[in-house]
């Protein structure tokens, strides 16, 4: 079993490094700095850290004002609160003017666990991806997180990076280089392609390994840049493997599955299955229990692969 590492820790440590390298990096939080791990930055750079209290709308507006004045603000809270709690502020203060604000949110999806529905962020990718000009990234492990945060800092424009709460296995080693807008082929295969994001990349790799025993040869893509989505990689995978399965810790509509389906409909229609949360809210439970109850395990991916292949 690969080592399990916290994405939030990787984010927090990377912010500190960025803060040392560039004095224009500033950080905002909404009373969750101990959870989002912006606390490391706050400790080293108290003058460049702004805790806005439990007021996400105001945090987003202050971040926009800082960006309009040449700063590079990273604003963090839980994924359920931004964009959920401040959608119009993100729309008018950041997206429309294309300001250089980086929203990095933690506790995405239902692997949040026991906190329950109010803290499960299952609509955030749909909301944020709907905004013109936003770049959206869902890293698959701590190594990709650190690199995505660096790329966001170095690239002008609004970014949303979604991290999960639990520690998850590394899928990359230190040689990995994140490239914005490019899907990463995690595993080659001929019979079907699983396209996954975030926590589901590990599950996709496990499913592919299990399906090998049944003689099914699966390709696995990590679509860590959700927007702009890598249309070429999706089209190529569909053409070469003839079936696509998406896997995400998010509602079935509006996230990765919807985006991939749109690309396929336009360029390369093939049978497709969606591993995602159906039209419902999850409840309290341990992360593993929730992922099982709501159909987000390697087993669910395997079943989806079999269904898609049958329809080829």
């Amino acid at each position: 079993m690969p080592q399990e590492v916290s994405l939030r820790e990787a984010y927090g440590q990377t912010l500190v490094q960025l803060g040392r390298e560039n004095q224009n990096i500033v950080v905002l939080d909404a009373d969750l700095s101990r959870s989002t791990m912006t606390q490391f930055f706050a400790r080293e750079f108290p003058d460049r850290f702004f805790d806005c209290g439990i007021a996400e709308q105001n945090m987003v507006g202050i971040a926009a004002g800082l960006a309009a004045s040449g700063k590079i603000p990273f604003a963090s809270t839980f994924a359920v609160f931004a964009p959920g709690r401040c959608f119009d502020q993100i729309r008018m203060s950041i997206a429309q003017p294309r300001l250089n604000v980086k929203l990095v949110t933690t506790h995405g999806g239902i692997s949040v666990g026991e906190d329950g529905t109010s803290h499960h962020s299952i609509e955030d990718l749909s909301l944020i991806s709907s905004l013109p000009g936003f770049t959206v990234i869902v890293p698959a492990d701590a190594i990709e997180t650190a690199q995505a945060v660096r790329v966001a800092a170095a690239s002008y424009g609004p970014f949303y990076i979604r991290l999960c709460r639990p520690k998850i296995p590394l899928v990359y080693n230190e040689d990995y280089r994140f490239v914005l807008g490019k899907a990463v082929t995690m595993r080659q295969g001929r019979d079907a392609t699983i396209i996954a994001i975030g926590t589901m990349v590990t599950a996709a790799l496990e499913a592919a390994e299990n399906l090998k025993g049944e003689g099914i040869d699966c390709r696995v893509l990590n679509m860590s840049t959700l927007k702009p989505v890598d249309e070429a990689a999706i089209t190529k995978a569909a053409a070469e493997t003839g079936a696509i399965i998406t896997a995400e810790e998010h509602l079935e509509h509006g996230g990765l599955g919807s985006m991939v389906a749109q690309v396929l409909a336009r360029h390369q229609p093939v049978p497709m299955e969606f591993v995602a949360i159906k039209d419902t809210y999850a409840k309290s439970g341990k992360p593993a229990e929730l992922l099982q109850r709501y159909g987000l395990t390697a087993k669910d991916i395997e079943q989806a692969v079999r269904s898609a292949i049958k329809r080829k």
Partner: protein, 294 residues
């Protein structure tokens, strides 16, 4: 530069203004003349466009006149000048007033005012910072400007720049919860380089504030949130200029200028008439209004 003589005001071409810092030598009489021209622009623009928000533009005319022609340090030929004092319009529906003011300063040709709200115009129905020179913020969704202004003020502090930040809110806008999140934060972060101005015309779309959503005690709310409160007659240029000078001396806390105004000020049938919040005058009304503003 010094302003041209009264009656010839102003130059409409940025060329003649060059990169000079805008003058603060205008007399009160000159500024009164400018204010009248701004009112005429507002009527003409919204009349031509057939839509727009004359009421809340007319109420804030003296506020913008005092700021742009006396208080702010700015260069119309260099809208991005980093040392400029910032003016942020949070009540984005007063865009006609801001555009007219920017045109009178030389940021835009005065003729362009007649393109308000038309396809491909730089003068959008509500402000858009990406296309209009001199516009600091994309606004129109109320409640967002004070937060934005705090960010701009904090950046100035971090960058050791001495620019000042002014942000204009409507009183009705203060129904929005975000305004009070920002009010808390402004005092908490002690942004004494920030001045909020409330165009306190007492009305919102559905009627008088006190009937729609009572804001009273309004000055008391700001004091309770930790702000230095200055109340003025928002149509008195001298009082406004004094208030901004007084705000400059406030240290350790932000200041708010509550400017008591009349919605639709200057046009008899628009004054205190919420119908003209978001309705343009028709051709006949334009004629009457311009006659009143001669």
């Amino acid at each position: 530069m010094s302003l041209p003589e009264k009656g010839k005001l102003p130059s409409t071409s940025a060329k003649s203004i060059k990169a000079e810092v805008f003058s603060s030598s205008a007399s009160v009489a000159e500024m009164e003349a400018i204010a009248k021209r701004l009112r005429r622009h507002i009527i003409t623009m919204t009349g031509k466009a057939g839509s727009g928000h004359p009421g809340g533009s007319l109420s804030a005319v003296e506020i913008l006149t005092a700021l742009y022609f006396k208080v702010l340090r700015h260069k119309p030929a260099d809208p991005q000048w980093s040392a400029r004092d910032r003016f942020i319009l949070s009540k984005g529906h007063a865009a006609p007033l801001l555009y007219a003011t920017l045109a009178e300063c030389g940021y835009l040709p005065v003729d362009e005012l007649l393109t308000l709200r038309q396809m491909d115009s730089r003068l959008q129905g509500h402000t858009d910072r990406t296309i209009t020179p001199g516009v600091e913020m994309s606004a129109g969704a109320l409640g967002q400007g004070l937060s934005f202004a705090i960010g701009v003020a904090l950046a100035g502090r971090l960058n050791l720049q001495d620019y000042r930040v002014h942000v204009l809110l409507g009183d009705g806008e203060c129904d929005e919860g975000q305004v009070w999140e920002a009010a808390m934060a402004g005092a908490h972060f002690k942004v004494d380089n920030l001045v909020a101005i409330v165009d306190n015309n007492g009305q919102q779309i559905d009627g008088w504030n006190r009937d729609v959503m009572n804001l009273a005690p309004f000055p008391g709310k700001w004091r309770a949130f930790g702000w230095h409160v200055i109340e003025v007659d928002g149509h008195d240029l001298v009082q406004l200029i004094d208030a901004f000078n007084q705000a400059k001396k406030v240290k350790g806390q932000p200041a708010v200028v509550i400017a008591h105004t009349i919605k639709g000020k200057g046009v008899s049938f628009m004054e205190n008439n919420p119908d003209f919040h978001g309705k343009a005058p028709n051709a006949e009304e334009v004629k009457i209004a311009l006659k009143e503003l001669e």
